[in-house]
C-alpha cells in the first residue's frame, strides 16, 4: 500500500513537471502569436524611427518607457535584423512584461529563468509565485494515470495536446480507473467468496475428528467426567416416564392400569457391583427425598473388591447408583448425618448437619464418614484402638440435639460411644453397658438401639439374648448412667434384630411405643417406661403390649410408617414384606408383598408412600405403598383406643 502511494506521489510529481513544461511551452507559443501584431507595430515604429530620427525616437521612448528602459537598445538596432531573432526578442520582452501580470496563474515551480539576459529588477517580483501553488496541485490528481500513458514516448507530443484531448484522455483514464476499481472490488469479492468456501470446506473437514483427536478426547479425564455426569442426568430424565405433552382428550382410554395391587413393587435397584452381596442397611436421605443409601455385605467370591460397600441410589434414576462408597470392612449400619433433622422444628433449631455426609458402622468397629462430594473412600474414620470400638458395631443412631448433632454407636461388646461428626479421632463420650445380673459375664451383646422421639438422654437397646434394656446416657434423677438392668423388656426368645420407636406425629402421643423384631418369628409392641422415673427396686420385667406372631420365619425388621400412627411394615426371612394396620387388624397384616429371597431391612421414605426393602439377594426393592399408609383424621384417636385396649 505504502509502496503504491509512493509511486502515485512520484507519478504526480512527474506529471506536474510535465504539465508545467507543457504550459510553459503553450504560453510561449501563445505569446509568440500575441506578439506578432505588436511585432508589426514595432517594425513600423522602427521604420518610422529610422525615417523620422531623433524626434520620433523621443516619442517612441516616451511611449515604450513603460515596457522597458532597455527597450531602446534593441529598438535602436538595425531594423534589418532577422525576423526570427526580432520575434524572439519581442517575445522575451512580451514575456517579461507579461510575467508580473500572469504570475498568479503560473506554475508551482518558478519557471526556469529564460536563457537570455534578464534584468535584475524583475527577479524580485517572481517570488510572489509561491503563494498560490497548492491549489493547482490538487487539480492534477485526476491526471495521475496520464503519466503512465503519455509520459515516456511522446512526451513532447503529449505536451502539446489540446485541452479537449486532455479532457478526453482524462475521461478515458478516469473510466479506466473506475474499471480497475470495479475489477478490484470484484476480485476481492471473488477472493472473499473463495476464502469462505475454503473455510467451509476446511470446517467440514475439521468437523470430522481424526482418530487421534478422538482418541485423545476419549482418554481425557475431563471427558470421562462429562460422560459420567451427563449420562446420569439423561438417565434421570429418561426414567421420569411422565409425558408432559400427553393429550388426555386424544389418548386412548386405557385407564385399566389403576387396578394395580396396593402394595406394588415398582422398581428393583441393582448393579453388577452389588452382585453376591446382601443388603445390610437402608436409609433414606432426609434432604433429598429420592436418595436412599444402602449398605452391602462383603462379597466372599470377590476378595479383590472392597469388603464394605455403600451405594446411594436414586429412586427416580434406577439403572445405577448415584454414588458408591467403599469401606475396608463390611458396613453393617448406614445413616445420613443429617437424619437428625427429621422434623422441621429440630431442623430449624439445631445446626444443620451436612446433607452430603453419610456415616457408616463397620464390622471391624470403625465408624466411617463419607462425603458425596468426595471420592469413594471415607473422608473421616474412627481409630481402631481401645479408645473406640473394637467389636462389630451393629447399632448406630444419629441424634438430633439442640447443641450439636452427634452419633451414638454401640458395639456388640456393649461399649456405647458418642461421636461428634467433625471429630472422629476419639469418642466424645463412652459408656460401658453391662448387666450385672448375667450369670457368667456382664457383657450385653447389643444388636440394635433406638431413641424415643425427642429423647436424647436415654435409649433402648435390643440384645442378642432376646431382651431389650433401657439405657441412660447420663446420671440424672436417681438413675445411674448405663444399662438399666431392672427395666428389662423380656419376651423374645431369640436375638432382637430391630428395635424401632414410634415416630410421634404432632397429633397424639405414642412416643413411648416401640416395636422389636426378633428371630423367634415374632414382632412385639412395647410401651417404654418413662426414663425419668426411678427404676423399681425389684427387677420387674415389662411385658409386651402385643405379640404379632403371624410370621413363619425370622423377622429381620419392623418399622413404623412415618405418617400413619397405626401402620408399620415388617420384613422377614421368607421374603415377605407385610404391612400392618393396627387400626384395622392386630392379628394379621393388612397387605403383603413377596420378594424371592429373605428381606433384611426395610425403610419408609419420608412422605410414607414408598418402602425400600433389601435382603439376601442384594437387590433393593421399591414398593409403592400408595394411600395405604395415608392417615385419616380419626386414625390417631382410633390408634390410641387400640393401644389402650392392648395394654389393658
Amino acid at each position: 500500500m505504502d509502496h503504491r502511494k509512493e509511486e502515485l506521489e512520484k507519478k504526480r510529481a512527474k506529471l506536474a513537471e510535465l504539465r508545467r513544461q507543457r504550459e510553459e511551452r503553450k504560453r510561449q507559443a501563445m505569446q509568440t502569436q500575441d506578439a506578432a501584431p505588436r511585432l508589426d507595430a514595432i517594425d513600423i515604429n522602427d521604420l518610422v524611427n529610422s525615417l523620422v530620427g531623433d524626434r520620433a525616437r523621443s516619442d517612441s521612448n516616451s511611449t515604450n518607457a513603460m515596457n522597458s528602459p532597455d527597450l531602446s537598445a534593441p529598438l535602436s538596432r538595425e531594423a534589418s535584423a532577422g525576423g526570427r531573432e526580432r520575434a524572439g526578442t519581442a517575445a522575451d520582452l512580451a514575456a517579461r512584461a507579461a510575467s508580473p501580470l500572469q504570475m498568479p496563474g503560473a506554475d508551482t515551480q518558478p519557471p526556469p529563468p529564460p536563457p537570455q539576459r534578464a534584468p535584475h529588477a524583475f527577479s524580485t517580483s517572481e517570488l510572489v509565485v509561491f503563494d498560490f501553488a497548492p491549489r493547482e496541485r490538487v487539480m492534477y490528481n485526476k491526471e495521475v494515470q496520464t503519466a503512465d500513458a503519455a509520459a515516456g514516448a511522446d512526451s513532447d507530443a503529449a505536451a502539446l495536446l489540446t485541452e479537449a484531448e486532455v479532457a478526453r484522455r482524462v475521461g478515458e483514464l478516469r473510466e479506466r480507473d473506475a474499471r480497475a476499481a470495479r475489477a478490484r472490488s470484484e476480485d476481492r469479492q471473488r477472493r472473499d467468496a473463495e476464502a469462505a468456501e475454503r473455510d467451509a470446506q476446511r470446517e467440514a473437514e475439521a468437523r470430522r475428528l481424526t482418530d487421534a483427536q478422538r482418541g485423545s478426547i476419549l482418554g481425557s479425564a475431563a471427558f470421562a467426567g462429562f460422560i459420567d455426569r451427563a449420562a446420569r442426568v439423561v438417565e434421570r430424565a429418561l426414567d421420569v416416564d411422565y409425558d408432559v405433552t400427553v393429550d388426555y382428550a386424544r389418548a386412548a382410554a386405557d385407564a385399566a392400569a389403576d387396578a394395580r395391587p396396593q402394595l406394588a413393587l415398582v422398581a428393583t435397584l441393582a448393579d453388577e457391583r452389588m452382585r453376591g452381596r446382601a443388603v445390610m442397611d437402608i436409609a433414606w436421605s432426609p434432604r433429598f427425598p429420592e436418595l436412599v443409601a444402602v449398605a452391602y455385605s462383603r462379597n466372599a467370591a470377590a476378595p479383590n473388591e472392597p469388603d464394605g460397600l455403600v451405594a446411594v441410589w436414586n429412586a427416580r434414576a434406577r439403572s445405577r447408583p448415584e454414588f458408591v462408597f467403599h469401606a475396608p470392612s463390611e458396613v453393617l449400619q448406614v445413616a445420613f448425618a443429617a437424619a437428625a433433622a427429621a422434623d422441621a422444628a429440630a431442623a430449624a433449631s439445631a445446626p444443620a448437619a451436612d446433607p452430603h455426609l453419610l456415616v457408616g458402622a463397620t464390622y471391624s468397629g470403625q465408624l466411617l464418614l463419607w462425603d458425596m462430594r468426595a471420592k469413594a473412600l471415607p473422608v473421616l474414620r474412627t481409630p481402631l484402638t481401645a479408645a473406640g470400638h473394637t467389636h462389630p458395631v451393629f447399632a448406630l443412631s444419629v441424634v438430633a440435639s439442640a447443641a450439636a448433632p452427634h452419633v451414638v454407636s454401640v458395639s456388640s461388646d456393649g461399649l456405647a460411644c458418642t461421636w461428634q461428626l467433625d471429630m472422629l479421632a476419639q469418642p466424645h463420650d463412652t459408656l460401658e453397658l453391662a448387666n450385672a445380673a448375667h450369670a457368667r459375664t456382664d457383657e450385653v451383646s447389643v444388636t440394635c438401639i433406638d431413641f424415643a422421639a425427642d429423647e436424647a438422654a436415654a435409649f433402648v437397646v435390643g440384645t442378642a439374648e432376646g431382651a431389650a434394656y433401657a439405657v441412660n446416657r447420663y446420671d440424672r434423677a436417681g438413675c445411674k448412667a448405663g444399662l438399666n438392668a431392672h427395666d428389662a423388656y423380656r419376651g423374645h426368645s431369640a436375638p432382637i434384630n430391630a428395635l424401632r420407636f414410634h415416630p410421634t406425629t404432632a397429633a397424639g402421643d405414642f412416643a413411648d411405643l416401640f416395636l422389636t423384631a426378633s428371630s423367634d418369628w415374632s414382632v412385639r409392641l412395647w410401651r417404654a417406661r418413662p426414663p425419668a422415673k426411678p427404676a423399681s427396686p425389684a427387677p420387674a420385667d415389662m411385658r409386651a403390649l402385643h405379640v404379632f406372631d403371624a410370621f413363619d420365619d425370622y423377622v429381620y425388621d419392623a418399622r413404623w410408617s412415618p405418617v400413619h400412627p397405626a401402620v408399620f411394615a415388617s420384613a422377614d426371612a421368607s421374603g415377605r414384606l407385610a404391612l400392618w394396620n393396627l387400626n384395622a387388624d392386630v392379628e394379621l397384616p393388612a397387605h403383603a408383598a413377596h420378594a424371592p429371597r429373605a428381606l433384611h431391612k426395610l425403610a419408609w421414605d419420608r412422605p410414607g408412600r414408598r418402602i425400600a426393602a433389601g435382603g439376601a439377594d442384594g437387590l433393593l426393592y421399591l414398593y409403592d405403598v400408595g394411600d395405604l399408609a395415608a392417615p385419616r383424621a380419626d386414625d390417631h384417636a382410633r390408634f390410641a383406643r387400640v393401644v389402650g385396649e392392648l395394654g389393658a
Binding site: R207, A224, A231, V234, L238, T245
Partner: protein, 114 residues
C-alpha cells in the same frame, strides 16, 4: 464411576465410556446416543449414519448452533446462570442434550406410553 477411575488407564476408561453409552442406548425408547464436542464434531454415536457424513454433520452443526443460542438465552435470563440441559420435544420424539463446557451428550428418545 468417576470416583474410582481417576487412576484407571485410558483404555479401561474408554471401555467405561462405551459401556455407559451402551447402557443409555439400551434403555427403553432410546433411539440413538451421540457424544459431540461443543462445536458439533461427533466423538461417538450409536445412530446409523444414513447419508454418510452429511447426516451427522448437519445434526452436529445445527446442534452446536442451537446450543450456542440457548446458552445465550440462558445468559440473558440471568448472567450468573448457564445452560446445563436441553430438551426438545417433538410430536414423535424427544431430544435430550446434556452438556458442559466442552461436550454434548445427545439422546434421541421415542417416549413410550405405559
Amino acid at each position: 464411576m468417576a470416583q474410582d477411575d481417576s487412576k484407571a488407564d485410558a483404555a479401561s476408561q474408554q471401555i467405561d465410556i462405551d459401556e455407559t453409552i451402551a447402557r443409555l442406548s439400551s434403555k427403553r425408547g432410546v433411539e440413538s446416543v451421540t457424544v459431540l464436542t461443543k462445536d458439533g464434531r461427533v466423538i461417538r454415536t450409536t445412530a446409523e449414519q444414513k447419508e454418510g457424513s452429511d447426516g451427522e454433520g448437519l445434526q452436529g452443526r445445527l446442534l452446536s448452533k442451537l446450543i450456542r443460542d440457548a446458552a445465550e438465552i440462558a445468559e440473558q435470563l440471568d448472567s450468573q446462570d448457564e445452560l446445563s440441559f436441553l430438551r426438545i420435544r417433538t410430536v414423535k420424539r424427544e431430544l435430550m442434550v446434556a452438556l458442559d463446557h466442552d461436550y454434548l451428550l445427545v439422546v434421541v428418545q421415542t417416549p413410550q406410553m405405559d
